[in-house]
């Protein structure tokens, strides 16, 4: 243990804490943004600080600071213990933690080429060229962005854990907005909307995206959408592309299987969950072919980790196996309540926030169909992809999603392009209607760096492995006037 974390742990013990952990984090971040061939922003950010979590008098306390000094360590420990004693004024029972084996470890990052060694001019140059290539007549806005993170996190606990983890993340994406004279506006993105795709990798991940190659086709799809058919309204069979399905997994499986949410801890913000403990082991969440895993161990996955922020070693569990709901994303305090073992899902957004149960990599395990077989099995339907809009109720049941693009499917073939596609349903009815999942060749692990949860808000970097999948009799084209 280093002298700083040692001081924190010793201080907490001296003040009567029965448990203490300290995370000392040094993080660099770079964001590059280009619009229409011109750089809009390059931001280098550095954060350093520590967070101290204690149990004293059977209750939690947490405090954090961006000043890393001995005097501040003493102040923060004292405040955390003070807060824990205040919490105890309203406790019903003492906090109990599931045991974990203490360990010392050093975890290296997974990048081949450290993106912070690549010149900003190269990053800007690539995005500038890609966004210029998207500026076809009718395209009014072409954007590109990259984001990189390099972090060293030290976790030390009063249970003798001392873990150093290094992490590098890289991500990028481009998008084109086309506008018609009639006022129509359409956006198409590559490889995914918002911040694009992200992974625990280095510059090689961005390189492999081949942004330049995809720039013009992306813009052409945005232009084509302007004159595409409007989305039909009614019940149709739906083939959901891998990217859109990542959102579906995130909202309708990932969030409802967070055990803190199930236990009501998120009730005042994001709501609760329909996946109550009485459903564990028996509730039919989806059809027999639906297998959903929480997997901390996928190499390079943005949601992957070796140890979580409680020092628990991350592993792979089935949230849903053969369609039956089986396990939760959990923590040391919550897992024993439902008879589970901690699986490595306690994560904090930086040093300043206390860890909460978060997604890791939540995946729809691949099936065995080709894309042609998925489409070929639809007489009258839609193929949708590209994340555009999402909304789901506070139980994670009623959802309504919009996609960037769709195509009609008739007679087992893709037909005309469709604009503004939307679909809606109820989580378990939707997943129960799944009768085909694409094979491993269609599988991709998408990195999502904007998952919000908790109060104060914490943003987590998670991922979703998905192949395209087919769903029967889904309501599409939601009418609103």
């Amino acid at each position: 243990m280093d002298k700083f974390t040692e001081r924190v742990i010793a201080g907490a013990r001296r003040l009567g804490a029965s448990y203490c952990d300290c995370r000392l984090i040094d993080m660099e971040r770079e964001d590059v943004s280009v619009v229409g061939g011109a750089p809009r922003a390059v931001v280098h950010a550095h954060q350093r600080g520590f967070g101290v979590r204690v149990i004293a008098n059977g209750a939690w306390g947490f405090s954090s600071s961006s000043v890393v000094s001995d005097a501040e360590a003493d102040h923060i420990v004292e405040e955390a213990v003070d807060i824990a004693h205040a919490s105890a004024l309203a406790k019903k029972k003492d906090v109990l933690l599931a045991p974990v084996s203490s360990c010392e470890d050093m975890v290296p990052h997974q990048a081949e080429v450290d993106p912070f060694t690549i010149a900003d001019s190269q990053k800007i140059g690539l995005l500038a060229e890609a966004t210029r290539a998207m500026m076809l007549p009718g395209v009014v806005l072409a954007r590109g962005q990259m984001q990189f993170v390099k972090e060293r996190k030290i976790f030390a606990s009063s249970e003798d854990a001392y873990i150093i983890q290094d992490r590098i993340e890289s991500g990028a994406g481009i998008s084109a907005m086309a506008a018609s004279e009639q006022g129509g506006v359409q956006v198409r993105s590559y490889p995914m909307a918002f911040s694009g795709d992200n992974a625990q990798s280095g510059w090689e991940f961005v390189d492999a995206m081949r942004l330049l190659e995809h720039a013009e086709p992306t813009a052409r799809e945005a232009l084509a959408l302007l004159s595409a058919k409007p989305c039909p309204s009614g019940f149709k069979d739906l083939v959901v592309g891998s990217q859109q399905l990542a959102l579906q997994v995130h909202e309708s499986c990932g969030h409802p299987s967070e055990l803190d949410r199930v236990m009501g801890m998120e009730a005042s913000f994001a709501g609760t969950s329909f996946l109550t403990p009485d459903k564990k082991g028996s509730f039919r969440y989806g059809s027999d072919i639906v297998n959903l895993t929480a997997d901390c161990t996928i190499p390079h996955a943005l949601g992957g980790l070796v140890y979580d922020d409680e020092g628990v070693k991350g592993r792979r569990v089935y949230l849903v196996r053969n369609g039956i709901f089986e396990y939760y994303l959990n923590s040391r305090a919550s897992a024993p309540v439902v008879g589970e073992e901690p699986m490595g899902a306690m994560r904090a957004d930086g040093f300043a926030r206390s860890p909460i149960v978060r997604m890791v990599s939540i995946n729809l395990e691949p099936g065995d169909l080709t894309f042609e077989q998925l489409i070929g099995g639809v007489e009258d339907g839609l193929y949708v992809d590209g994340i555009k809009s999402w909304s789901i109720d506070d139980q994670r049941l009623n959802f309504q999603f919009g996609s960037e693009i769709a195509w009609e499917i008739r007679g087992g073939k893709l037909q005309d392009m469709v604009r503004n596609p939307t679909y809606t349903g109820v989580t378990y009815e939707f997943w129960r209607s799944c009768d085909g999942i694409g094979g491993p060749g269609l599988y991709h692990v998408w990195g999502v760096d904007n998952c919000g949860k908790g109060e104060p808000m914490q943003v987590a970097h998670v991922s979703h492995g998905t192949s395209p999948a087919r769903f029967r009799h889904v309501q599409v084209g939601v009418l609103h006037e």
Binding site: A59, S121, V140, A267, W390, D393
Partner: protein, 447 residues
């Protein structure tokens, strides 16, 4: 840190810059939050953070860097990093240079209350216990947060900008749940003495009790009364979609080309005013530019949008003092939205409806068709059926898919009383009334 200390450090750091122009924005915050659920406190946290953001300009090149290290050495380093970053950039032909200083009205703003800054965790816990006890008496489960924040925002630049504002926020929130119903209460103010935990708990408990055993209703168009909490969710989406110069650039601004036209009901006025002390005022933006009131809708007629210095120069306007921290992808942003008060109250609004719906809150709103400000989301924490001028039953939650411009056109009644709702951004607040709207579109029912 005091204003003098912080400005002193920042001005010293400016001297370390060899860029043509340099701007330093510092935000410090000591905040604490008590988080409760299932009638217990499950997290109780504090954080002491500082963030310094530097923009350095070399010709038409702009570089940025930020740090959490507020020591003189840390600030000097970040200033140099920003200048280095600028030299690596290519020219941004649209960049107008950093803005020159303008007078800032700080004398009547207020916004910082010593008692809030000095509050102790025990005070928060005791307040939360009042909500919990009230809920337990009805066999209900309370969840929520009690947040207290003491923050500073300071801006200095080599152009001579020098701005400082210190403010506090206290906000108590309660979601109270039964087996098949829930209710909501929220109170926020700069002064912790304004927070009444009994009132927050009572409102949430009453709603949860009254909406027990909810019935299902077929979705469709209904006349609705929206509480200020529900209006806040919609205005949050509107701010993101349609009230800024960036929304004009993105073609999602319903005001574009309609200045002066009657596009909403004459009773609807919507504006941003960072100086109005009835909200949570912030006298300047993240470029140190003074806040100006911007009228989006005046008596239903289309108005303008908010600008920062970048978009103002690009679009031939002047900044309205609505820059967020630069650079950012959101563009300028209204942090102090007000809807003009009407002359009614919620009880009267309900009494004017033969068959309709009262909505306490909306949840998870997101755009469906951004250019028409069509958004979707669901109701939560207290949805009532209104029959013959009375709230008669709780309703199962509903999904709505509604154009916000259409909503303004169909707004027929607005309350006199408005709620101050502190922003989740940690700065600013919305001040919003309850409204009665005809033909509000519900498109689904939750299970």
């Amino acid at each position: 840190m005091s204003k003098e200390q912080l400005h002193g450090l920042m001005r010293d750091a400016l001297k370390a810059s060899d860029a043509d122009q340099t701007e330093i924005v510092a935000m410090t915050s000591s905040s604490a939050l008590t988080w409760y659920a299932e009638n217990i406190i499950h997290q109780n946290v504090a954080e002491h953070t500082a963030q310094v953001q530097v923009r350095a300009v070399v010709g038409k090149k702009v570089g940025s860097a930020s740090t959490t290290d507020c020591s003189p050495e840390g600030l000097e380093l970040v200033v140099q990093q920003a200048a280095q970053a600028a030299r690596l950039m290519t020219d941004d032909p649209d960049f107008p240079g950093l803005p020159s200083p303008q007078p800032i009205a700080t004398e009547c703003i207020g916004g910082w209350v010593a008692a809030t800054a000095a509050s102790r965790p025990e005070e928060r816990v005791l307040a939360v216990k009042k909500v919990i006890r009230r809920s337990e008496r009805e066999g209900l489960r309370a969840a929520g947060t009690y947040r207290v924040q003491d923050s500073e925002l300071a801006v200095v630049s080599s152009m001579g900008v020098s701005a400082y504002h210190q403010y506090t926020v206290a906000a108590l929130k309660a979601v109270v749940m039964g087996d098949d119903s829930s209710g909501y209460g929220l109170m926020s103010s700069a002064d912790i003495a304004d927070i009444d935990p009994d009132a927050v708990g009572e409102r949430a408990v009453l709603t949860a009790v009254e909406t027990r055993h909810p019935v299902e209703i077929e979705p469709g168009a209904f006349e609705v009364v929206l509480s200020p909490f529900a209006v806040e969710e919609l205005m949050g989406m509107l701010a993101y979609l349609a009230l800024s110069a960036r929304s004009v650039e993105q073609h999602t601004c319903f005001l574009e080309g309609h200045e002066g036209e009657q596009i909403a009901a004459p009773i609807v006025s919507l504006y941003d005013d960072g100086l109005d002390p009835s909200g949570m005022p912030v006298p300047f933006d993240f470029e140190g530019m003074p806040k100006h009131r911007v009228d989006f809708l005046t008596a239903g007629r289309g108005g303008s949008v908010v600008y920062d210095s970048y978009y103002a120069a690009k679009m031939g306007r002047v900044t309205t003092g609505h820059s967020l921290q630069q650079p950012n992808d959101m563009g300028p942003y209204p942090l102090n939205i007000f809807m003009g008060a009407g002359d009614s109250n919620e009880a009267d609004m309900v009494s004017h409806i033969e068959r309709g719906i009262y909505v306490t809150r909306f949840w998870y709103g997101n755009p469906v068709e951004p250019q028409r400000a069509v958004v979707t989301g669901t109701t939560r924490d207290g949805t009532y059926l209104i029959e013959n001028g009375r709230k008669t039953h709780g309703l199962r939650n509903l999904r709505f898919t509604q154009g916000l411009v259409d909503m303004f056109a169909h707004t027929v009644e607005i309350s006199r009383e408005r709620a101050v709702l502190a922003s989740s951004f940690g700065i600013g607040a919305m001040v919003l009334p309850s409204i009665r709207v005809e033909e509000f579109q519900f498109t689904g029912v939750t299970r």
